[in-house]
């Protein structure tokens, strides 16, 4: 039986509460942190180690390695927002986002890439973030990398990633080895279902336990529904139980705190702000929410790929990330498991069945579009449904579809260069293509439309922009909310654009910087 540090910690007396077990009374905390993902986890560790009393509130469940059974059918409802069925308003983009203690860090694929320098430069030039230079952030990246054991993956890539590498080599495209936040990784390939061996250095296995060891409290299964505020200060939080199966008799209640850190992530964080009617004189809450919208291309290889085995992501290519014109995109691959593949493959019937039967010969490429850097790329807008829940409206435009079509072309070209027998651009009106010229002709004529072109996302950013201009930003570069003195926002929602890189390492570095400043302020 593998060691389960969460079970051990709970047995040793960590202060964990849930709808099934609530304390008789709540003390007043120095800091309440809403959310336990990349931003909330780092903040909890730093603030509790500074001697502050901390409560972490997580709307998802507190799971641990003993619960992770490597099965999608359990993991998706248990660990993901809306049971992994979250979608944009027109249902044109499916969104994978964590919903459990550790947030998306519990279920991500461990890819750890520093913020590209060009992105930081854009923030300095366009968003007034002069402090966030590469040089200034370097110690925070280094600290995060040390804390979470982030280093380039030394094991040879699995065949899925190797195809990406070989395609790049054939075409003379740049490609890099991915750094991962793992320690003693078994190279299984099931990171998206929660790491069963605790090798992934997620917030679940690192910073949250460290915070609990430093007397932080954790409440899981409760959602902060509103923030009460008065005269420029947050005065309280109202909470509702979220776990449908267990919450029938759990009460809603209110809490107060000297300081509140919002780390509920993009979409849910801005939705909480909207429900709470936080002061927002320039109407910025929820706007400019970015997704790194992902286009997908499948390929049949003449050899076994077995894309479910091995580190899910170990190679990427930025060959097309910074084009002179139009949307740029990063090329990566996903892990391939039955539900993920079967639900994303377009169509049904014989072709779908045949491709599923060829499951182990499938190679899949992803192109992550770098949204938010151009006037034509304004991202989405978080709204509230009638029941107060969050909804993201992310409209498409011609600028987007131009990038999407080029992305499908690049992936098909790469897959044929890597030896594909056939390529299937994921679009309802596409089919198998057996040569690069054939694929090119097809993709150039496909109608690029929502719900015909498959678009997904696993990186939700923005909606509460940081910046130097008080009229265009809600928080400063330390996450301090401009219109409420005891509120900070420390998560991916403060990113003023998308990144052009998987976001966890950027959030860790910014969170280290912001929470250290906050600890100093409050101590």
């Amino acid at each position: 039986m593998l060691d389960d540090p969460i079970a051990k910690g709970l047995a040793a007396g960590w202060q964990h509460y849930s709808p099934e077990s609530l304390p008789e009374r709540w003390p007043e905390f120095d800091v309440v942190i809403i959310g336990s993902g990349a931003g909330g986890g780092i903040s909890a560790k730093i603030l509790s180690e500074a001697g502050l009393s901390v409560l972490i509130i997580e709307s998802g469940r507190f799971r641990s390695s003993r619960d992770f059974n490597l099965q999608e059918a359990q993991a998706y409802p248990d660990l993901y927002q809306e049971a992994a069925s979250r979608k944009t308003k027109d249902k044109g983009i499916g969104i994978l986002q964590g919903h459990c203690v550790g947030g998306s860090t519990t279920v991500n694929w461990t890819t750890s890439i520093r913020t590209p320098n060009a992105t930081l430069q854009h923030w300095q030039d366009q968003h007034g973030l002069s402090a966030l230079s590469e040089q200034h952030l370097q110690p925070y990246f280094e600290e995060a990398e040390q804390l979470l054991n982030i280093s380039p993956w030394q094991v040879p890539p699995n065949a899925n990633n190797r195809a990406l590498q070989q395609g790049c080599e054939q075409l003379g495209w740049s490609h890099q080895v991915i750094s991962r936040n793992v320690k003693g990784c078994w190279d299984l390939g099931y990171c998206g279902m929660g790491c069963p061996t605790n090798a992934k250095q997620s917030m679940l296995t690192t910073c949250i336990p460290q915070a609990l060891e430093h007397s932080a409290w954790l409440l899981s299964g409760y959602q902060v529904w509103t923030l009460e505020h008065k005269q420029g200060r947050v005065t309280g939080l109202t909470l509702k139980p979220t776990l449908a199966s267990t919450s029938n008799n759990a009460p809603s209640f209110s809490l107060s705190a000297k300081h509140v850190v919002m780390a509920a992530g993009s979409i849910n964080g801005p939705a909480l702000m909207l429900r709470s009617k936080l002061p927002d004189p320039h109407q910025l809450i929820g706007k400019r929410t970015f997704l790194h919208p992902v286009l997908i291309s499948g390929a049949l290889m003449p050899f076994k790929v077995e894309g479910h085995k091995g580190a899910p992501q170990s190679v990427y290519s930025d060959q097309h990330l910074w084009p002179r014109q139009g949307l740029g995109y990063k090329l990566e691959v996903p892990p391939l498991h039955p539900i993920l593949v079967a639900t994303k493959l377009c169509g049904f019937g014989k072709l779908h069945q045949q491709l599923m039967q060829q499951f182990n010969r499938l190679q899949v490429c992803l192109a992550l579009l770098r949204d938010g850097f151009d006037a034509h790329s304004q991202g989405g807008q978080v709204e509230l449904r009638d029941d107060g829940s969050a909804l993201l409206d992310y409209p498409f435009n011609d600028y987007f579809w131009d990038g999407a079509r080029r992305a499908l072309l690049s992936m098909a070209e790469l897959q044929f260069a890597a030896g594909a027998e056939a390529v299937y651009p994921l679009h309802e009106q596409a089919g198998l293509c057996f040569s690069w010229p054939e694929a090119k002709t097809l993709i150039e004529t496909l109608p690029m439309e929502a719900l015909q072109t498959k678009v997904v996302s696993a990186h939700v950013m923005g909606g509460c922009p940081m910046g130097g201009d008080t009229q265009r930003s809600l928080v400063d570069d330390l996450g301090r909310y401009r219109h409420l003195e005891n509120l900070s926002v420390i998560d991916g929602s403060i990113l003023p654009t998308s990144l052009g890189a998987n976001p966890q390492l950027t959030i860790y570095a910014l969170a280290l910087r912001a929470s250290k400043a906050l600890a100093q302020q409050l101590s």
Partner: protein
């Protein structure tokens, strides 16, 4: 082999492709598994609609009665995990499909779902899939996702894919199938 299909070509193609399906009526309501699905979330009529539509999405896979029963059970469970807003949308779709009057609107003027053959159901799904109305695309994709996830999430259906859990975790994974609350 690949070419850009127009919507009409797709409908014709789906009709032609469905030609070999004549005579296969597994998914008629009377073929519902004898053993009653213990549904916690979906109504009997909603399950009836799903029992008719799910095999059309899976074809040429032909689930037997036991497999159909397991599939409906898994769909009911998956539905229960969805947020209230998504449940409401799916519920409305299933109810519409069950009502003759509203079904006329969704099926471009054909009678009711229970009178459809499998090939007509496949044709209907493709009609939604390629329609210019986003609402119909959404209906198709909602059903597609629910059925595919429920079928391929079941380890009993993995041998066809040659997909296996890593050796050290095969039995371990089964032991862990019921997580603790918390």
């Amino acid at each position: 082999m690949s070419q850009r299909f127009t919507r009409r070509q797709f409908l014709l193609a789906s009709l032609a492709g469905a030609g070999g399906l004549l005579g296969w009526y597994l998914s008629r309501p009377q073929d519902l598994p004898q053993q009653r699905v213990k549904a916690r979330h979906l109504s009997a009529t909603q399950l009836e609609v799903l029992a008719m539509m799910a095999p059309s999405l899976l074809y040429p896979i032909r689930p037997d009665a036991q497999q159909l029963h397991s599939l409906l059970q898994a769909i009911d469970q998956a539905y229960g995990y969805l947020p209230a807003s998504t449940q409401q949308e799916l519920s409305q779709l299933l109810n519409l499909l069950h009502r003759r009057g509203s079904f006329l609107l969704l099926s471009a003027g054909v009678s009711d779902l229970s009178k459809f053959s499998i090939k007509q159901r496949i044709q209907l799904l493709n009609y939604w899939r390629f329609h210019s109305l986003a609402l119909l695309n959404q209906a198709y994709q909602g059903l597609h996702e629910l059925v595919m996830a429920s079928w391929y999430g079941n380890p009993a259906n993995w041998p066809a894919l040659d997909y296996q859990l890593p050796e050290p975790f095969k039995s371990f994974a089964l032991e862990r199938s019921t997580p603790h609350a918390g």
